[in-house]
Symmetry: C2
Subunit: 461 residues, 2 copies
């Protein structure tokens, strides 16, 4: 299905735009303006001549130019009539933000909406959804004000979610990270456009490096797995599915009227299709950022550099507990090179503890020494920014090495404002940063599994 | 051992205090001043007459008044001589910040330090440690500047760590939370005062509601378990032990020269002593905050209130995946009461989805309705602050109910600044706030396990 016009529309009609700042239609229009959308905007409202300084139209037929996208935010029972008008006016695509359909038992009304979409060949997202956000095209149909939901920066992670609430929470979480967003789709009840359509679109989208999805139910299971299999040959797909337990399934059913199905079957099928399965929202984000920036690892031998011994031990535990990872042994060449540049108190072993007075220079020397070691497939650089030596020279040295490292390199640090500042600095420069050894290990392992899948290597673990 | 004088000294000598702002002894003195310590401060420095405007002394014997605590930050080989002087001068307790002892092979030097401590009956913390912090007495021997390591507010969580680096990272992490600190001990090589002494002290300390510890090795295993058993009868003890794997053990050995021992034996013994075992730094904090404020649960029946269906499903999954928790069934009385106050679109079931327009009033009505339900042992209140209805009235209503709830009540929310603001608001008012369903479920389960331990109920899971 051609959903490009939803994501990169040259003109948008907002049906239900309102002068009342509390109304959804007002917030959507305001957010388009805030985002700096450069296409044509047409507020549609029976009573107003203009809204937020923009000429308004009483109905869609009165707009003389072509409309690429109509965003509909009016009471449910009025939606089918308005969609008919959109179809007749030649609107290219529709997003129905309004709720009040299958999720509250109004299946009939939802079917009517779907049949109008099919009749006019007019891709329709929703109903009961937040719609689309694309920071590049500056499309933002979300009816949530930016002070409540901060918008992420531009990046390579695309995210799709059935649930508007989970979708908005994840978007807001991403906005607090140093990595960025390509496209966001909240598709709600999926009356017409569904996860298969969105997945196929994102598979072809060059700005999307990683696809992340939150699912409650899947309507077309077979097509979905086929699309997933084709997509994972090109780019990583990470999935979190709600309804992992029978209690969760029952709750999911009540929420979007989707049948959750048996989770173990789903999970096995996801994995066979090369998808990375997350078990929690935090895992979704952790995996997204490593897949966005890191190359495929050749193996699971991990080197650890740290400025705090204890954190090195905890990270060693996390690596050794992981099924596919283990501590690398430094080559003789690496050891000799480290002996030359490290102060004598530094024990030349993995994890390499640079000590609490380590500055950017010592980190640089250590990373340079291990950079070309064939025994090392991945590197975790721990920086406790609380220690006396650590400052922004350490973050800079990690960013510098990263540019030519050629293997997965991630940073690990935890703490309050001084640490967070350096986290954002590193992530904005393309270094994924984790705040716990277990999250770091799980994320490295996820890239290794995906790399094995792509090389068609058996993974019986 | 009497370590009270370390934590609440009326006078502190800082040996190695320096006019050079880069030196450890300078930063320690500066931090005492910044913290607003009201006792007597005596910088000790051979060459300076005064440091940071405070009269300095060439050595400890020249201080005429009684010194409760000497903080020593001078090169390792000079420490035994200075400790002798402290002993002769009648100093009550000592903290040796300096490194360069057993952790770098200087076992002899460390033994000398211990024997002087014993000879003078002078409790000595360290060497190779950060020392002590107590935001009530405003003692702060940490040599890390506050811009790098934010200091936590006053609270009921006491934390002890062998590793200074892990200790400072956790302190910094706590400072970003809404809960606070009672005492912090970084005890380094534990040449004299060790985990048993600190545990026994914290067990008796009325300001300490929860004890949290990060361990690498344990010197006196039997005494430690005995002390733990006695402590957990009074208050919860949470432990994270590094060296869970053989690789981690090897790394731990190199770090503090402590023998990590077999982890599975340790873990079983910890659990039998009623300690709560954490597997990661984030778990340490998650458990600490629920134990600080929440009463012991009677059982594992959990009610969930949410303003986002998807988050309710994910949380249901987390509860149902947990071994000891399950979804509660609302009593008929609760259901009737909810039917009266909830709008018709709200489905009366657990999880209770209040919908995206729910405000503080709706949350209040829902919590009031379920408050006295005997079928409910614990409550998770999810608020997606991204949704249109959610604002500070929701946080206020949770805080209000909390005061008389009488059962564990925790909040769950995730997101950027608007959400973080409400998180801090709730946590400062004594409501533990989690950012993921799995963390919320694990923390509730930890309180249930501890409550079963205290009631001597069998727990074979």
């Amino acid at each position: 299905m051609r959903i490009e016009s939803m994501v990169k529309p040259r003109s948008v009609a907002i049906i239900g735009a309102s002068r009342d700042p509390e109304k959804v239609g007002h917030i959507i229009l305001q957010n388009y303006l805030n985002a700096g959308y450069s296409g044509k905007l047409y507020p549609v409202n029976k009573e107003a001549d203009s809204i937020l300084g923009i000429k308004a139209y009483p109905d869609i037929s009165k707009i003389k130019e072509k409309v690429d996208l109509a965003v509909i935010a009016i009471p449910a029972k009025l939606v089918p009539g308005v969609m008919e008008e959109c179809g007749k006016a030649g609107v290219k695509s529709v997003i129905v933000v309004s709720g009040g359909f299958a999720e509250v038992g109004e299946t009939e009304l939802q079917n009517k909406l779907a049949s109008i979409a099919i009749k006019y060949g007019m891709p329709t997202l929703g109903p009961n959804c937040l719609g689309v956000m694309d920071p590049r095209s500056r499309v933002d149909t979300l009816f949530l004000p930016t002070y409540k939901l901060s918008r992420p920066q531009i990046g390579g992670v695309s995210f799709m979610a059935q649930s508007g609430a989970v979708g908005s929470t994840v978007l807001d979480m991403i906005s607090g990270e140093g990595f960025g967003l390509s496209k966001f789709f909240s598709y709600g009840n999926a009356a017409h456009v569904d996860e298969v359509d969105i997945l196929r679109y994102l598979a072809e989208d060059n700005d999307t490096k990683v696809i992340v999805m939150y699912l409650e139910g899947i309507k077309r299971g077979k097509e979905f797995l086929k699309a997933a299999r084709e997509t994972t040959n090109k780019k990583p797909v990470i999935v979190l599915k709600a309804g992992r337990t029978s209690a969760g399934m029952a709750a999911a059913h009540s929420h979007t009227a989707a049948l959750a199905g048996d989770y173990q079957v789903h999970e096995a099928a996801f994995r066979q299709s090369g998808m990375t399965v997350a078990n929690d929202l935090s895992e979704l984000l952790n995996y997204a950022k490593i897949f966005e920036t890191e190359p495929a690892p050749r193996g699971g031998n991990v080197a650890i550099i740290t400025n705090g011994g204890g954190m090195g031990v905890l990270t060693t535990d996390a690596i050794a507990s992981s099924k596919r990872l283990k501590l690398a042994s430094f080559s003789d060449k690496t050891k000799a090179s480290l002996r030359k540049t490290m102060p004598s108190l530094v024990n030349i072993r993995n994890p390499l503890d640079l000590a609490g007075d380590a500055d950017g220079k010592r980190y640089s020397d250590a990373m340079d020494a291990i950079k070309d070691d064939e025994n090392i497939d991945m590197l975790i650089v721990i920086t406790l920014f609380q220690t006396p030596g650590a400052d922004s020279t350490v973050a800079s040295s990690i960013i510098r090495i990263k540019e030519s490292f050629g293997k997965p390199l991630i940073a690990l640090c935890a703490g309050a404002s001084y640490t967070q500042m350096h986290k954002i600095m590193m992530e904005s420069a393309g270094v994924p940063v984790y705040d716990s050894p277990s999250a770091a290990a799980a994320s490295l392992e996820a890239t290794l599994k995906y790399s094995m899948f792509k090389k068609q290597m058996p993974d019986e673990l």
